[in-house]
């Protein structure tokens, strides 16, 4: 494992439409190493392997193989660099015989005067099965109708036939029976002894810990951790995969606060009669600052007060990037703040107005043209943009708001702010009354906002949500802040509830 680095990946990104399949992936694979890639469905494992194998091209980032820049334009090209892959989905051509499948795309080497010499080909194929100690299928038979296990073996033989330095195995074991699994394990061990490298994807965590040296955990396309197989446990891996709780699979998985030093908002000694008392805190760029407390703790007053909607008796709300004290909501709006209040239908949206009017409302100043003109086409374009980017399910932007489901209303509500150039976003119970899918969507948007260096104040009645998303958490009681907990400290429900009561 201390061998030389054979494959290095730096800042790899891959999008499919608006969703990130891989985001800033860094990875170093050494000679003699067996690496496991694990993560939930859609976490980007297969996408990552496919890029290494030349099936997809990365959007950005670079790869180095044996120290040389590596940008494969096809699987064959990858093969030339000593990399081959066994794919998760079956990758044999059914109406070709098994032997031909082993040398698919490379049958030219057996051609004699334009005709492929099948005998020579089958001989070479048989040699591969023997060399790697794999059970030999009937080489002249079409692969159609063969058992999955057999077809997998043909694929494996094909991958091995190029004598690869790096072997990529995507979910191979799940289609193998026990004895063939042992053969595969033996094969992996042999690769290790040959000072080559293997990358394995499997959903069986126990198996992965057993057969690998190191494990890389992916979540939402990002690498969230790398552990030594010998030192980890099933629970640790599982926790890294799904985040804090199995029920909240959409939360953040990392347990360290990550944000810049740049202060965006500085609140000092803020008091609002009967609501808040001596509130002081700072929010940083790229930070999610959580607020939680019991029902009368005053957390919902925080959002209002920061956005200039309350009449404070003392204290200041200072927007650092523009060096302005905020005294009113119009000022907050002009100083790159956004506010998503708790009561969607009564405080946030004009439910009898259409989606277009609701979407453009916070951006009217920016949309203004010459002579104050708000060109209808410009407004529609913006509303359409929001509708598409946040996939609002509707018949069109002319539809009235109250015809939408709660989740879609919230998409408009949140989207119209994220469509702006914000520095601070205040979210008060952003996932109230929306279904799981939209919830996940909203958390993803929050992560995106965090990446974009937007400071977020997350006020929520759902403790798990705050614990799942926040970098720091401020606990409130009777209008005062009583405790600050960082993500890498005692960030558990028990400890927070203890502070809340």
């Amino acid at each position: 494992m201390s061998g030389e680095v054979i494959l290095e990946i730096k800042g790899l990104n891959k999008h499919f439409g608006p969703t990130y399949a891989n985001k800033n992936v860094d990875l170093k694979l050494r000679r003699g190493e067996v690496r496991g890639l694990i993560g939930e469905n859609g976490s980007g494992k297969s996408t990552l392997l496919s890029q290494i194998a030349g099936l997809y091209r990365p959007d950005s980032g670079e790869m180095l193989v044996k120290g040389e820049p590596y940008a494969p334009h096809s699987p064959i090209d990858a093969n030339r660099h000593g990399i081959s892959m066994v794919m998760q989905e079956l990758g044999v051509v059914g109406n070709l015989p098994a032997g031909v499948n082993v040398f698919l795309g490379r049958t030219g080497q057996f051609a004699k005067g334009g005709v492929v010499d099948l005998n020579a080909l089958n001989k070479a194929a048989a040699a591969q099965f023997a060399k790697w100690d794999l059970p030999m299928p009937p080489l002249n038979q079409l692969t159609d109708g063969m058992m999955i296990e057999t077809r997998k073996m043909i694929e494996l033989a094909r991958a091995l036939s190029i004598d690869p330095d790096i072997l990529l195995l995507d979910e191979v074991t799940q289609s193998l029976s026990l004895n063939n699994r042992d053969k595969l394990y033996a094969l992996i061990r042999r690769f290790k002894e040959m000072d080559r490298a293997v990358v394995v994807i499997t959903h069986d965590i126990e198996e992965m810990i057993r057969i690998t040296d190191t494990i890389t955990v992916l979540r939402d396309g990002e690498v969230v951790g790398e552990v030594r197989s010998a030192e980890t446990t099933l629970d640790e891996i599982r926790m890294m995969m799904v985040g804090r709780q199995v029920s909240g699979e959409y939360y953040r998985a990392d347990m360290t606060p990550t944000y810049s030093d740049e202060v965006v908002l500085r609140v000092k000694d803020l008091s609002v009669p009967h609501e808040l008392e001596d509130i002081s805190f700072e929010v940083h760029a790229g930070e999610i600052l959580g607020f939680c407390g019991l029902s009368d703790a005053g957390i919902h007053s925080i959002g209002k007060a920061v956005y200039g909607l309350s009449k404070p008796s003392k204290g200041t709300v200072h927007m650092v990037p523009t060096d302005t004290d905020i005294h009113s909501a119009p000022q907050a709006l002009a100083n790159f703040m956004g506010y998503v209040p708790k009561d969607r239908d009564n405080e946030a949206l004009m439910i009898h107005a259409n989606i277009r009017d609701n979407s453009v409302l916070p951006s009217v100043e920016e949309l203004k043209g010459k002579a104050g003109l708000l060109a209808p086409r410009k407004l529609s374009r913006m509303a359409e943009g929001i509708r598409e980017r946040f996939s609002v399910k509707t018949t069109g932007v002319g539809q009235t708001m109250n015809a939408l489901s709660g989740g879609n209303k919230q998409k408009v509500n949140l989207g119209r702010w994220l469509a702006k150039d914000l520095k601070l976003l205040i979210l008060d119970c952003p996932t109230r009354g929306v279904d799981v899918g939209v919830k996940a969507n909203i958390y993803a948007l929050m992560k995106e906002a965090k990446k974009d260096n937007i400071a977020t104040i997350l006020i929520s009645d759902e403790l798990t949500e705050v614990l799942g998303m926040a970098d720091r958490l401020l606990v409130m009681k009777d209008g005062r802040i009583t405790k600050e907990i960082r993500r890498d400290e005692d960030f558990t429900e028990q400890s927070v509830i203890g502070e809340m009561i």
Partner: protein, 323 residues
């Protein structure tokens, strides 16, 4: 202005003012034996609706916000009387226009500040102003009497000048209402004032602004009124506020304002009201008591239709939310 006009998107409540307009037109065309469509009548119709449309175009902003301005009638009287008097006293004829506008604007500004800052309901304020200011106007008129357009300004009495000025003003107001921040924010305030505040719209400022605008339009109205008659009268602007309110609501704008406030509705509503008044006079029912009772009955009818279509809309909404 509107591309891809989609019939399916038209709601019944949007069609009512069109239907009413056509029905009225046909009815009076038949009842007056075609006199309604003579070129003389048509020109008369437009001229008579000018004052209503001008005043209503300002009040529309206030109504869009869910408020009401019933002071436009007395405002027309006050600014007209004061403006003309200043022109007479100073001997500078053109002063009547800027002074009338300034008086109208100031009165609107006062209304706006009281509504926005003292949280007095606009309806209550309007009625108080209506009575109080009318008293002041009457007092002034007992001193200065009826005055006439100064000789240097008689060109404004030419109907061509008035109609041209009217169309310019109309286009400006349509632009402001439909295509600028002021109109958009006003409709947003009418839709949901809390939302408007929470988004960061300067609600108080917008309220003051639209009352001031309404006052300014009343100031313009006074100039048009004087130009049409040739001077001030004892009954100048009386019941104009009612005519304006009827025009706006007849046109299909809801009392609650918001998205239902559209400029074309004001034009349609104003024309309809004028057709009723003018049509009745053509039929020989010029005695004001008859025409006024007909107007009153029509207003009631409109309110009924408005409330009914509104209730249907609400019911539909509730059903959707349940589902």
């Amino acid at each position: 202005m509107k591309k891809g006009f989609d019939l399916k998107k038209l709601r019944l409540s949007d069609l009512v003012p069109f239907i009413a307009f056509v029905v009225l037109l046909v009815f009076f065309a038949v009842a007056t034996g075609g006199k309604m469509f003579s070129s003389y009548s048509l020109q008369k119709l437009i001229e008579q609706s000018i004052l209503t449309i001008i005043a209503a175009s300002g009040v529309l902003f206030v109504v869009a916000q869910g408020s009401i301005d019933l002071t436009v009638g007395v405002n027309v009287a006050l600014s007209g009387v004061v403006g003309l008097h200043v022109a007479q006293v100073t001997g500078i004829g053109w002063l009547m226009i800027p002074v009338s506008l300034a008086v109208g604007l100031l009165m609107g500004l006062l209304n706006g500040v009281i509504v926005a800052k003292c949280h007095v309901p606009s309806f209550t304020l309007s009625i108080a102003m209506l009575i109080g200011v009318r008293g002041i106007v009457n007092y002034i008129q007992t001193i200065v009497g009826v005055e006439y357009v100064p000789a240097s300004m008689t060109f404004i009495t030419a109907s061509g000048v008035r109609i041209a000025a009217f169309f310019v003003l109309l286009l400006v107001m349509i632009y402001i209402f439909e295509f600028t921040r002021v109109g958009r924010y006003s409709r947003a305030i009418g839709e949901n004032e809390t939302t408007a505040r929470f988004v960061g719209i300067p609600v108080d400022k917008m309220k003051i602004l639209v009352f001031a605008l309404s006052g300014l339009m009343a100031g313009f109205g006074s100039v048009f009124s004087i130009a049409a008659v040739g001077g001030t009268t004892q009954t100048m602007g009386s019941f104009l506020e009612m005519q304006v309110a009827m025009a706006i609501f007849f046109g299909g704008v809801l009392v609650t304002g918001g998205s239902s406030a559209k400029f074309y509705k004001v034009i349609l509503g104003s024309l309809s009201i004028t057709i009723i008044v003018y049509g009745l006079s053509l039929m020989g029912m010029s005695e004001s008591h008859i025409s006024q009772s007909v107007e009153g009955i029509l207003l009631l009818l409109i309110l009924f239709i408005t409330i009914l279509t509104n209730r249907q809309k609400k019911l539909k909404t509730e059903h959707k939310e349940e589902a």
